[in-house]
């Protein structure tokens, strides 16, 4: 950020005034145990009354050393670990990892596998946005949408469970394609879900989109300009709501997204309301993509020819996909052995969280909650 007003001067945490005589500034510790910090995020707020003067994120409470673990596991063995990062969008994490290793090995998954991958990933995008919507609305005080979204998310999880046995950390994909053929009636069930789900989006919108309080709580809250977004490395719906038409599914097509016809919804103001609208529109676009993928699901093998023991040639590769929360990138350095020499994950939530301070300056405490919700962070991914 070039603007000196938005760079954060370090908070003086040691100067705790026990007498409360200096009542102008209040330093409040929000989290790591707080109902609205979506896990174990700790935010240190400097307040003037209710106004936020600045804030600092303290992360690392969920650090599990996933990247380091990657250096001690073979490429296949590490695959389930990536599900544990963004645990509400485990399938997307898996897709990103598998495609990166495939790029390293120079193999490509067969078309049928690609199609199934797209279906499952887009379903995952819907599930992730549903969870975001429910918790975001809950943070702002609307308690009912949470139950509506969870009711409908259940249908997606049922499809996952039927496909690969797990609901959350699915480990759905393998390097080179898929382990399992789709079960009988997979297409029909997915289509049924889509017809079931289309009116449900309207139902969510009915509760919120034109709700006066919702609009007042989200319009002009947590505004961020396109330049600031780019400077901070923000990606995904947050970036698009600021008016940047950047979606890796179109910009650097991976899997076989170039075969599908869909639009990139963008916003104009870069505020919380626009981010809400963008994500709602994305759910509709995902429905569109899944419908096309199911209709054109090709026959054929589901696994490419991959060596049993993977020893990619020495070299490095970076590959990124459009996860529900933004650009999810994997950087792998191979030294020719069965294990990566270095594995680095570029999680979208981590980069997006940087924008929290820029978005919250000058706003009220209640807006911090709204902005944390709208950033759609998952701490498992931030801390890794």
């Amino acid at each position: 950020m070039t603007d000196p007003n938005t760079t954060l001067s370090p908070l003086e945490l040691g100067s705790h005034d026990k007498t409360y005589l200096d009542a102008n500034e209040l330093v409040i510790n929000m989290g790591p145990q707080h109902p609205a910090t979506h896990g174990v995020l700790r935010v240190i707020l400097r307040l003037d009354g209710e106004k936020v003067l600045g804030l600092e994120c303290v992360i690392g409470y969920l650090h599990r050393g996933v990247e380091k673990i990657g250096e001690h596991r073979t490429y296949t063995m590490f695959n389930p670990y990536v599900d544990r990062m963004d645990y509400v969008a485990a399938v997307s994490n898996g897709l990103g990892y598998c495609e990166t290793v495939e790029k390293l090995l120079n193999v490509e998954a067969p078309p049928r596998a690609q199609h199934v991958r797209v279906i499952l990933t887009e379903l995952n995008r819907i599930a992730s946005h549903q969870l975001w919507l429910g918790t975001h609305a809950l943070d702002i005080g609307a308690i009912t949408p949470l139950f509506y979204t969870f009711r409908d998310r259940e249908e997606i999880l049922k499809i996952y469970e039927k496909y690969c046995g797990a609901r959350l950390t699915t480990h759905a994909f393998r390097i080179g394609g898929l382990q399992y053929e789709t079960y009988t009636g997979f297409e029909k069930e997915v289509t049924n879900f889509l017809t079931f789900f289309r009116p449900k989006i309207d139902e969510y919108e009915e509760l919120l989109t034109t709700n006066r309080i919702w609009v007042e709580r989200t319009k002009n809250v947590g505004k961020i300009s396109a330049q600031d977004c780019i400077a901070l490395g923000v990606s995904g719906p947050v970036l698009r709501a600021s008016g940047v038409k950047w979606d890796l599914r179109k910009a650097q097509p991976y899997a076989n997204y170039k075969n599908f016809d869909f639009e990139i919804p963008i916003g104009q103001n870069g505020d919380t309301y626009d981010r809400y609208l963008v994500r709602m529109a994305e759910m509709r676009q995902s429905v569109r993509i899944i419908q096309q993928a199911v209709d054109a699901l090709p026959e054929g093998p589901i696994m490419a020819k991959v060596p049993k023991v993977m020893k990619p040639a020495a070299g490095e590769v970076y590959h990124s996909i459009e996860a529900p929360k933004g650009e999810l990138g994997y950087f792998i350095v191979s030294d020719g052995s069965t294990q990566p020499y270095r594995l680095r994950v570029r999680p979208p939530s981590f980069a997006n969280l940087q924008a929290l301070d820029a978005m919250c300056r000058g706003q009220l405490v209640a807006d911090v909650i709204a902005v944390i919700g709208t950033l759609d962070i998952v701490l498992g991914e931030v801390d890794r």
């Binding site: 209040l26 409040i28 510790n29 707080h34 109902p35 609205a36 209710e50 609305a137 809950l138 943070d139 702002i140 005080g141 609307a142 308690i143 009912t144 949470l146 139950f147 509506y148 009711r151 509760l207 919120l208 709700n211 309080i213 919702w214 007042e216 709580r217 009220l364 405490v365 209640a366 807006d367 909650i369």
Partner: protein, 425 residues
């Protein structure tokens, strides 16, 4: 002995409230009845809120403790009483201890003047409505004390929010109340009243509930009050003081166990109290609906059946659900319990059909039914609306409701004057 019986029975022939008649015995009976009834109402409200909210949110709510979770509030009460009572080490002990007491006292004391019927009130003060508004706003003090004494940031912010909110909404609320009181003076003598019973009697005399008076002025005043009363009781969508997602629990973050349950009790009785004010001022208090359109003895008799019919209806719901209970032996006790509950409700309903009883209970029934309608609205709001932000809340109070209240007051006064001087001189 004879003198005592004489003292007790002398009240029965009077048409005043026990307080106004100066009869200590009946005043005590009424106090016990009102506070017993209030406790039952809070317990019922607890269960109903959880159930109704649950059904709005595609879930079942409490189902385990008793049939359909009917015993859940009692289980909760036991849990709260048995819980460890924690006081933060740095807290101001005395103030911390006093705060819930003040809140509860303020919330309960207002029921002294709530008129459940022309004689069914503990007392009838000639400043009844002022007393209610005054005492109920005392609870702010308790909340500020709770926030301050906890010596913690979140409660402090919650208390600040709450006091600012309650003070600013009280202004709009007061203006709405004044316009209703103005309407009471529209009689031949031109004498208004502040007495809660007097206000309802004025509506009876004018053959019009004040919500319909000078349409739409009465309706607007009622609307202002209805919004302000939600803010006054710190309920969704104005529950900033205890905004769970922002301030964990607001002013009562540091409270636990019995002390916390006092805050809970106070919140629900305050809800009932302000709803009672709204019912008394605009919805005709204990008067039955459609007094003009459906007047006459046959209609009176039909309407007097309502209390009994309502209880029989509840009993029927119980029996219907008893039949629908799973047939598994594990559910036998629950099934019997639900049937027993239905029998109790049914018996109460049958007793209410006895003419001598139904005449006396009618007023209480209609008053409670109207208050129950407000309680449902409270739950409905909570299930539907997101939470206002603090500055928006203030804006709404000072920039929307206050001018509206002033406007309604001036218009009501002007129309009333015109009516008295020009149309009916």
């Amino acid at each position: 002995m004879g003198a005592i019986i004489q003292y007790i029975s002398s009240y029965l022939s009077s048409d005043k409230t026990p307080g106004a008649a100066g009869n200590m015995f009946w005043a005590l009976v009424y106090i016990m009845l009102v506070f017993g009834g209030l406790s039952v109402a809070v317990i019922a409200m607890n269960w109903l809120e959880r159930k109704i909210l649950a059904h709005m949110q595609v879930r079942l709510g409490p189902m385990r403790v008793g049939p359909h979770g009917l015993l859940q509030p009692i289980a909760d009460a036991i849990k709260l009483l048995l819980k460890e009572d924690i006081m933060p080490a740095e807290a101001d002990g005395f103030v911390f201890w006093m705060a819930p007491l003040i809140v509860v006292l303020a919330a309960f004391t207002v029921f002294v003047v709530v008129p459940f019927g022309p004689t069914h009130a503990i007392t009838d003060m000639n400043i009844g409505i002022l007393f209610m508004l005054g005492v109920s706003s005392l609870s702010v003090l308790g909340i500020v004390m709770a926030g301050w004494a906890s010596n913690s940031h979140y409660p402090l912010i919650g208390a600040l929010r709450s006091s600012a909110q309650m003070v600013s909404y009280e202004v709009a609320m007061g203006l709405a109340v004044v316009s209703a009181i103005l309407m009471t003076s529209l009689n031949a003598e031109g004498t208004g009243t502040l007495s809660m019973i007097g206000i309802v009697k004025a509506q009876l005399a004018q053959h019009e509930w004040f919500i319909f008076k000078f349409f739409p002025l009465g309706l607007v005043a009622f609307f202002i009050f209805a919004v302000a009363m939600v803010a006054e009781t710190n309920r969704a969508p104005f529950d900033l003081a205890e905004a769970e997602s922002e301030l964990t629990a607001g002013f009562h973050t540091e409270y636990s166990g019995f002390r916390w349950s006092l805050f809970f009790l106070a919140e629900y009785s305050a809800m009932i109290a302000v709803s009672s004010i709204a019912v008394t001022l605009w919805l005709g208090g204990w008067l039955r609906p459609f007094p003009n359109m459906l007047s006459g003895t046959p209609w009176d008799q039909i309407f007097s059946l309502f209390p009994g019919v309502t209880f029989l209806f509840f009993a029927a719901i119980c029996f219907y659900n008893t039949v629908r209970m799973p047939k598994h032996p594990l559910f036998r006790i629950q099934t019997i319990g639900l049937a027993g509950f239905g029998v109790v409700l049914g018996l109460i309903g049958l007793v209410l059909f006895v003419p001598a009883v139904s005449v006396r209970v009618q007023d209480i029934f209609w008053f409670s039914a109207k208050v129950a309608g407000f309680m449902y609205l409270y739950i409905w709001y909570r299930g539907t609306f997101p939470r206002y932000r603090f500055d928006q809340l203030m804006q709404m109070g000072w920039k929307v409701l206050l001018p509206m209240g002033l406007g309604v007051l001036i218009l009501t006064a002007s129309v009333a004057l015109l009516q008295q001087k020009i149309w009916h001189p």
